[in-house]
């Protein structure tokens, strides 16, 4: 009887298409609500034409490419520095929030619940809000940008890494335990290698997110690709916008490539 409860009721095909229709209607209504003809701003039509036309002739003058390279490097540096802080928070955090090193049940429960709450609070605040808060406290300081990525990302990494350390096959861990391994040794010889591929993949995904976040954070005055895009858009230099966007895409693709290579090494 109890296993029946675990089997989800099969959705009726008619019910599903009715739901789809409802969602489409809701979406169209919400677009209309945002304000019919104001979706494209006044003069937007010609801006769209200019934007598309300039796609064919992005600015690749040596002077500007130097500016792009510098901005790309700055954004990548913010992303890497932010991820470093996130790892400093997230890796010890993952051990605390998963409780894998704590032998005693009661202590483990306290650690899991306490740190789960702490990290949930830290990551509930978006990195952009963290940036505004930290700018108020630290002034226009690169550290504000690094911490704005590092704190919420560290909290997210702690939770996800912690879950992945727990979500590994039971048998190898039990076998290590019966050979006399302590929780730290089970972590080193069991949980970490068993989860390595999934951990590495997730961390590279977060690095990719950090690149995008660093580009956005640069709007608020920290420099980098986002700031350059904002300036170019304000000056209607669309040919520069395209070059800058291409640099951002290349940066994300580069991270993705490295990620694929690293992950391939750990897949069992």
């Amino acid at each position: 009887m109890s296993t029946r409860l675990l089997v989800p009721a099969r959705p009726r095909p008619g019910g599903r298409s009715a739901l789809s229709l409802l969602l489409v209607v809701a979406f169209l209504l919400s677009v209309a609500a945002v304000a019919g003809d104001q979706v494209v701003g006044s003069g937007g039509g010609s801006a769209v034409r200019d934007l598309l036309a300039s796609l064919l002739r992005p600015d690749i003058s040596p002077d500007f490419l130097l500016v792009v390279a510098e901005a790309t490097l700055l954004t990548a540096s913010y992303a890497v520095a932010g991820m470093s802080v996130a790892l400093l928070v997230g890796v010890p955090g993952a051990l605390l929030v998963s409780g894998v090193l704590i032998r005693r049940r009661a202590a483990r429960l306290v650690s899991v619940l306490g740190f789960r709450g702490l990290f949930a609070t830290l990551r509930a605040v978006h990195e952009l809000v963290w940036a505004l808060l930290l700018l108020t406290i630290l002034g226009l300081n690169p550290l504000a940008g690094i911490l704005a990525i590092g704190i919420p990302y560290g909290a997210t990494i702690a939770r996800v890494l912690g879950d992945r350390l727990l979500d590994v096959p039971r048998e190898p861990l039990d076998a290590l335990g019966s050979a006399g391994a302590s929780p730290v040794q089970v972590l080193l010889y069991g949980r970490l290698p068993l989860a390595a591929g999934s951990l590495a993949g997730y961390l590279f995904y977060r690095l990719e997110c950090a690149v995008r976040a660093a580009a956005v954070l640069s709007f608020i005055g920290l420099g980098g690709l986002g700031l350059r895009i904002e300036v170019a858009l304000a000056d209607l230099r669309f040919e520069q916008v395209w070059t800058l966007l291409a640099a951002l895409v290349l940066l994300v693709v580069a991270v993705d490539r490295v990620s694929g290579r690293v992950r391939a090494r750990y897949v069992a």
């Binding site: 096959p169 048998e171 190898p172 039990d174 076998a175 290590l176 019966s178 050979a179 006399g180 391994a181 302590s182 730290v184 040794q185 080193l188 010889y189 069991g190 290698p193 068993l194 390595a196 591929g197 750990y266 069992a268």
Partner: protein, 256 residues
């Protein structure tokens, strides 16, 4: 000094009216059995006879609901969770118990973790150092040329030998194996049982293994214990086990 009345260390395993019960159902016992040091014992019997429960009892993974189990003259109940237990009793890992992402070397070295501190364990994992007993055990299993390969890249039979190499590095006085050849073809099953038997005989270890195939049991052990419904049906050297006894052991019960 040990008093003459102390449990004899000549007996590696002593079970005294030991019972394993799950709720109201008795899986094993009450069972009284002694196994001398160095003896190789096969447990045979139909599914549900209590072979796995008995092995888990000897491994210290289950506490007896009644009675007493001692290994090497020491009460297992007092050794549960203690760090000296792995030196007394070792359960042969199965294929699934290995870490496929790690090399043969690291999987086999894991057998020594009970004797190593955290720093040594970490060093053995990340530094290009070799633990000589691990190398020796892998050579003995005929896998010397696969020492640095990932376990995931080995065949099922090779993985089972890696598991045995890990157990040799753990170096327990009593070796327990639960259906060690269940997933192997006949030729590889015989090879593994020969290696297991040799590891017991040459190093003076006591061996208790469950085997679903009585023919394999008869050719590789000193003593065969037939179990049915948690009770000993026969307990004989292999040459005295008759086909009729085995047929009786495995017959389907009249009731169902």
């Amino acid at each position: 000094m040990r008093s003459p009345e102390a449990p004899s260390t000549e007996h590696a395993v002593v079970l005294c009216a030991a019972t394993v019960a799950y709720g109201t159902r008795t899986a094993v016992g009450p069972l009284t059995l002694t196994i001398p040091r160095g003896q190789r014992v096969a447990l045979v019997g139909p599914s549900g006879a209590g072979k796995t429960s008995l092995l888990r009892l000897l491994a210290g993974q289950l506490a007896p609901s009644a009675g007493q189990v001692s290994v090497g003259g020491r009460d297992l109940a007092r050794l549960r969770g203690r760090r000296e237990l792995p030196a007394l009793v070792g359960l042969l890992p199965q294929q699934l118990d290995l870490v496929p992402q790690l090399s043969v070397k690291h999987n086999v070295q894991a057998g020594a973790l009970g004797r190593w501190g955290v720093l040594r364990s970490l060093g053995a994992l990340v530094l290009p150092v070799e633990h000589p007993p691990a190398r020796a055990a892998v050579e003995r299993m005929g896998l010397g040329d696969r020492f640095e390969d990932r376990v995931a890249d080995l065949s099922g039979g090779e993985q089972q030998r890696v598991a045995l190499a890990r157990l040799l590095v753990q170096d327990p006085a009593l070796v327990l194996a639960d259906e060690p050849v269940a997933s192997l073809d006949p030729a590889r099953a015989e090879q593994l049982l020969d290696l297991l038997g040799a590891a017991a005989r040459e190093d003076g270890r006591t061996l208790v293994t469950s085997l679903h195939d009585p023919a394999l049991a008869l050719r590789s052990v000193d003593r065969v214990v037939g179990l049915r419904d948690g009770q000993v049906v026969f307990d004989l050297p292999p040459h005295r086990v008759t086909p009729a006894m085995l047929a009786g052991l495995y017959r389907l019960s009249e009731a169902g």
